[in-house]
């Protein structure tokens, strides 16, 4: 009798966590491990002292040093930054304007169409966008003699950065109290003043978040950039690709790690902003 009772008690204790399902915890932990393991290996091997990429012989930061004095790396880094910063600023401004016009307003004709156009870049597979953009700029160059140089890449990036910036801004705008702008108008603020003194400050977290996301997707982009870029217009991802084609050294790990760090930095920033809001 007593033994039975003890068994029932422990079974009850186990059954208390009604939410858990068999094997789910293990699967989750395995998946997370699988997601991070290759990246961690990549990072670890960037500190490899030897030339051969796969065998670890000692800790050293020589490959980072190597990268830093590398001319190609410099120019790729500069290009990447120019493109990413320009695309981020442009797309964030455009996205903010568009978000203000399409959010929290009474339904207007063309609203769905506008929303679809803004989100179009997210629906089309990157390779299709890439070849389409390539064709477009080739045509511009051939027929109209128009070539913006690195501006071509910036324009291509603008297109897919806008939806990424738009989403968090729109989300932030929707969660804002509409009465605040009414109160501002009541207190003698013209629509422009109300926007500047009330809407913008409160919208800032959304704008920052949107800008961070836009920066990340521009900075990291490979497919579109590869097809659209002309000679001499290398970005960091393209540089890494070039290094794959050559005999490989851990320098590729080092540069990949640098790239990852910057991405992760901006991810943390964006995440932090979102958390602070709560």
């Amino acid at each position: 009798m007593r033994i039975e009772g003890a068994g029932k008690l422990s079974r009850a204790a186990k059954a208390i966590d009604l939410r858990s399902q068999f094997g789910f915890r293990t699967t989750a932990l395995v998946c997370l491990f699988v997601l991070y393991f290759p990246i961690l290996i990549l990072i670890v091997f960037s500190f490899n002292a030897s030339d051969i990429v796969a065998i670890f012989s000692g800790v050293s930061t020589r490959w980072y040093a190597h990268a830093f004095i590398n001319e190609e790396f410099h120019s790729a880094a500069i290009n990447t930054m120019i493109i990413a910063v320009t695309a981020t600023i442009g797309s964030t401004i455009f996205a903010t304007l568009a978000a203000v016009a399409t959010t929290r307003v009474a339904p207007w004709r063309g609203q769905t169409a506008v929303y679809m156009i803004i989100n179009l870049p997210l629906m089309v597979p990157e390779i299709i966008t890439a070849v389409a953009t390539l064709s477009f700029f080739a045509l511009l160059g051939q027929e109209l003699g128009l070539n913006f140089g690195i501006g071509n890449i910036v324009l291509a990036h603008l297109v897919f950065c806008i939806p990424f910036a738009y989403m968090p801004i729109r989300a932030r705008l929707e969660s804002m109290d509409l009465t605040l702008e009414t109160a501002a108008a009541d207190l003698y603020a013209t629509p422009v003043k109300a926007f500047w003194h009330v809407t913008m400050p409160l919208l800032m977290p959304g704008i920052s978040s949107g800008a961070a996301l836009a920066f990340i997707v521009s900075f990291d982009d490979f497919t579109i950039t590869q097809l659209v870029a002309g000679p001499g217009q290398t970005t960091l991802p393209l540089y890494i690709w070039a290094m794959i084609r050559r005999p490989m050294t851990p320098e590729i790990n080092a540069i990949s790690t640098i790239l990852l760090s910057i991405s992760v930095l901006f991810i943390l920033v964006s995440f932090g902003i979102a958390q602070k809001r709560k």
Partner: protein, 374 residues
């Protein structure tokens, strides 16, 4: 127009603070259109505490928004001190609002919130500072001046909202159910505060509420609204003692409704016959013809209970007695049909003078029989 000037017999001195003339507001179009306000007219005097009272959806908030400028009337005009303002946006009207949700700017401190209006008007820094300090003093929030909005309590937020709306010294202050979020004790305190503020500043207050007790205690005059129309305008006394509409009588306090018949009439004077057969002289308005039926509104506390057989207007049996401490309610089944509630104050403590089933007579002063428009 059933003007207040006519009702009170007092002439309007100076321009009215707010005047709404035949204002109509419709939202949407076609069969789904919402008629929020239907040909509404009202005159609000300077330095008055005026209340718009009614249930949800009666249009009181819509009217307030029209005065503030957040909506424009579909028809009619809105005048502020004689000036037509219906076409002006809210930032061009010398009117400020205290919102139901307070709508304080979360990114600004208490002081910056209060000074916002003056800043938007382009006043100099020193002037804004001085006025902000004065306002903080007025609502007793000086120590909180640098706090952020989320750091102060609900009652304190309410006072900041008030100060913010008063700081630019508007011609009219609009209050949209500002006390509804407060607990009872705080509410009572704020009611007294608001009256004080109104007296001290001399600004016309237009107050919106669905709480009739609040309206009765605070207002100089009340407009009772329902279904997009103003049913009656008057002082608390007038509204309570002399309701002209069934809705008003029913909405404010408790009322008994008794059907009567018009038996005679010469001009405004006439005679009505109660269901018990007793005739009573009453003043009548134009719409009640001889032979027609009218409804009387009688307050429960205006009915006296007398011995059956004595001179009385109505008679019946006691159906139920409910003891409320301060007074006792008697539910009386009338011999002529229907029932009434009689409220008797327990001036000499609880006395069991009547029991359920006893026959009683009801005596009512004729002035307490309010004739309603039917």
């Amino acid at each position: 127009m059933k003007d207040d000037a006519v009702e009170d017999g007092v002439e309007l001195t100076g321009l009215p603070a707010v005047e709404a003339k035949n204002v109509t507001k419709t939202f949407g179009a076609g069969p789904d259109a919402v008629h929020a306000l239907d040909d509404v007219s009202v005159t609000i005097r300077q330095n008055e505490f005026f209340t718009l009272l009614g249930p949800s959806g009666c249009g009181k908030t819509t009217l307030l928004r029209l005065i503030a400028g957040f909506e424009m009337p579909t028809a009619g005009s809105i005048l502020l001190e004689g000036q037509e303002v219906a076409h002006l946006p809210p930032f061009k009207r010398p009117v400020n609002t205290v919102f139901q949700s307070y709508a304080l700017f979360p990114h600004l401190s208490v002081a910056d919130n209060i000074g916002f209006g003056l800043k938007m008007l382009g006043r100099k820094r020193a002037e804004v500072e001085a006025q902000v300090t004065a306002m903080l003093k007025l609502v007793k929030m000086e120590p909180m001046r640098n706090r952020k909005v989320h750091q102060i309590s609900g009652g304190q937020q309410q006072r900041v909202a008030l100060a913010r709306a008063l700081a630019p010294h508007p011609k009219v202050l609009l209050l949209d159910e500002p006390l509804s979020a407060l607990d009872l004790k705080l509410r009572k305190e704020m009611q007294i505060e608001l009256k004080r503020l109104q007296h001290e500043t001399g600004i016309t207050f237009v107050f919106v509420t669905h709480d009739q007790e609040e309206a009765l205690t605070m207002s100089d005059r009340i407009a009772v609204m329902s279904g997009g129309k103003i049913l009656q305008i008057g002082t608390a006394n007038e509204i309570y003692e002399h309701p002209t509409e069934r809705f008003v009588a029913d909405f404010i306090g408790e009322t008994n409704f008794i059907e009567a018949e018009v038996t005679q009439r010469i001009g405004n004077q006439g005679q009505i016959r109660l269901p018990s057969g007793i005739a009573v002289p009453r003043e009548l308005d134009h719409d009640a013809p001889v032979g027609g039926r009218i409804t009387l509104a009688i307050r429960p506390e205006r009915i006296d209970l007398v011995k059956p057989g004595a001179e009385c207007h109505l008679s019946g049996k006691v159906e139920n007695i409910v003891y409320f401490g301060t007074d006792t309610h008697f539910h009386i089944d009338l011999d002529s049909g229907g029932d009434v509630t009689v409220r008797v104050q327990n001036r000499r403590g609880h006395q069991e003078l009547l029991k359920t089933g006893d026959a009683v007579g009801l005596r009512i002063a004729p002035e307490a029989m309010q004739v309603l428009k039917d």
